[in-house]
């Protein structure tokens, strides 16, 4: 097996390594579609999707088939190239970030020493895609939505990056696989509870890491454009924001990218703070295959949290959004960085 793998040319190896996340994204999209609709329905005191299959489990497949069969409508006055390219740019930005996610101790797409840095950088590609979509749509509402979204995502990358810096300070590495191995050994070794450090340091670090994790999660929701930060696609204001002119499969690409982003943001938070693929029980239920299980379960829990928050809270206005990012989250994170640095040095 291993000789066969090593005999393949590197290009084929890379492509083979890139396929599992894609398959995972597509399967996961079906699951999260179903989950979102069902969770939304139960929060709203109704049931959804009872007809197709047992309690509607086949509905996402039906949705996918419907989107594939839809007529591809391209308005005549749009920018020919950018309109078509934009959904793929958005999806590429998210998909590329999956390369550095450690699904288990045995599998990681690309074991970069700068994993974290790469993550933050490549997910900025999404902003470019959204701006493209907003501009190319030749629609004032789409333009407004695209510009707002770009401003929002750029602003919230600062708290994300700063929170990642805190985690990097505690674990001492930017390599995501290293970060996860650092937290191996049980729930108390997780960075959110202070990391595998002496008790005194842990207790001092605890408030900072909890706050940082919370801010990372909030900034993550803002990065994904979900309520309460979903002004760019605020259905009740901008019709659909930068998505307005898209229909059929292109629209599906945007939504695929959004759901993939949901997972990405949860996965990053889980890897950096909650131990990634390591089991919370230490030795029990750990190993390469269990690693995938734990990783997916932890990330899906936060995906569920994001869906829960979406259907509970109203949305923030653009200037309030910006205010929160620049004047609330960033100063708190600076304080956390100072605090963590201080605790680690003494």
């Amino acid at each position: 097996m291993i000789e066969f793998w090593n005999s393949l040319p590197p290009l084929v190896q890379s492509i083979a390594l890139a396929v599992p996340p894609l398959v995972f994204i597509i399967l996961y999209a079906l699951v999260v579609l179903y989950m979102e609709m069902k969770v939304a329905a139960h929060i709203q005191d109704r049931v959804a999707y009872m007809r197709t299959g047992w309690h509607g489990v086949l509905q996402p497949i039906a949705d996918m088939v419907k989107l594939l069969l839809k007529e591809d409508i391209i308005p005549s006055a749009v920018d020919k190239v950018f309109f078509r390219v934009a959904p793929y740019v958005v999806f590429a930005g998210t998909y590329a970030a999956f390369a550095v996610l450690p699904f288990s101790s045995a599998y990681i797409g690309a074991d970069l020493n700068l994993g974290v840095f790469f993550l933050v950088a490549i997910s900025s590609l999404v902003v470019v895609g959204i701006l493209m979509a907003g501009w190319a749509s030749n629609n004032k509402w789409a333009l407004l939505g695209g510009v707002r979204s770009a401003a929002q995502m750029i602003s919230y990358e600062i708290p994300t990056a700063l929170a990642i810096v805190v985690a990097a300070m505690i674990t001492g590495s930017l390599n995501l696989q290293e970060v996860t191995k650092f937290q191996d050994g049980g729930i108390l070794n997780w960075v959110v509870f202070g990391g595998p450090l002496p008790l005194m340091q842990k207790l001092l670090l605890l408030p900072f890491t909890l706050v940082t994790f919370f801010i990372l999660f909030v900034a993550g929701i803002a990065e994904v454009n979900r309520t309460p930060f979903d002004l760019p696609e605020a259905e009740s204001e901008l019709v659909q924001g930068f998505n307005t002119e898209y229909s059929g499969m292109r629209f599906a690409m945007f939504y695929l990218a959004e759901y993939a982003n949901l997972f990405l943001v949860s996965a990053v938070a889980v890897t950096l703070f909650l131990g990634g693929w390591s089991s919370p029980f230490g030795e029990f239920m750990s190993g390469p295959v269990w690693g995938i299980f734990w990783f997916v379960v932890k990330a899906m829990f936060f995906v569920f949290m994001q869906i829960w928050i979406r259907w509970t809270l109203p949305r923030l206005r653009v200037d309030q959004l910006m205010y929160i990012s620049w004047k609330v989250l960033t100063p708190w994170l600076f304080a956390c960085i100072l605090g963590v640095g201080f605790v680690l040095v003494i």
Binding site: I43, Q44, D45, L144, P228, P314, V318
Partner: protein, 396 residues
Amino acid sequence: MIEAKTLPTNYVTKPGAIKSSSGKTLRTEEMIVNMGPQHPSTHGVLRLEIIIDGEIINDVIPHIGYLHRCFEKHAEHMTNYQQVIPYADRMDYCSAITNEWAFALAAERMLKIEVPERVEYIRVIMAELQRIASHLIAVGTYGIDAGAFTPFLYCFIDREKILDLFEMTCGARLLYNYVWIGGLSHDLPPKFVEQTKEFCTYFRPRIKMINDLLTYNEIFVKRTANVGVLPKDVAINYAASGPMLRGSGINWDLRRDDPYSVYDKLEWEPQIGKGEVGAVGDCWDRHIVRMREMEQSLNIIEQALAKLPEGNVQAALPKRIRPDKDAEVYVRTETPRGELGFYVVSDGTASPFRVKARGPAFVNLSVLPEISRGAMLADLVLIAGSVDIVLGEVDR
């Protein structure tokens, strides 16, 4: 002589020469954005022409008339005053009983009919149930405008129970044709009183639940406080009524200040906005006025149910409705949206000579440009939502 303006030619390519529909020339940094007749959050077919400078609104020009159904012309051609009642229903379709009641009151005043007391109490109960149902729509859709999708579903669950009560009584869920001139079309069915009492006990804690979920939510408060402030003098000058007027701190409720029916025999308080989270007269004040009015309506219903006398609901129905020549009357009632007025003029025949419907949503909407200048685009949706318009009433 002032000529009526023809269709505006908006998009002239010379810079600075773009004109809005009201004739104002735009500056080059301004942009006209259209919140068109079809839009998820304009609560109906309303077109708002917005002149924005970045994100700040410089002017809003509402265009209405997409739902104009010629109610007043129809009313002049009816062969009977009773036939106008179903048309009046369909004006404000979210609150149909109050429309019918206003018109029936006008006809009854012109004919000088006294309706039996049972009829008065039933009308009050129905109108207050209708008030709760209408406010539930207003509150639910206001949550959607703000991005909170869940309170809408909760409000509609409660509204279904009210619509069940209506269906039990007159067979219709939304447009009833129930309040007739001189009485009602049907008496209350046997189980109505106990089911309504059950509803009242069921609904009271739900108001608190919606308040916890939406009204006092930090994000909602930040979105609606100090937004769309309607000062007192502007409110009176623009003849705002209902929660728009009371939200600005003016203690004026037609049920108490221009009383009709048996409201003066029941104990309840008009709710006024006090500026609890921001300026007096902002969107949050109007919202909380509606929430508190629902509670007051429950009080009224419970008292009216307790005092409900026996009697025949069709005793005073006149055979021929023929008011005197030159009889004319303007009657105003307090609907969930404000003051609904009917100015009915008779010429001695069986059809009305002129019926003018003064819709509260029509008048409240005219104040929208005044309160949204200087607001942000995202606020406009919330301001328009807080006016609580129903296009059927705006356009008639």
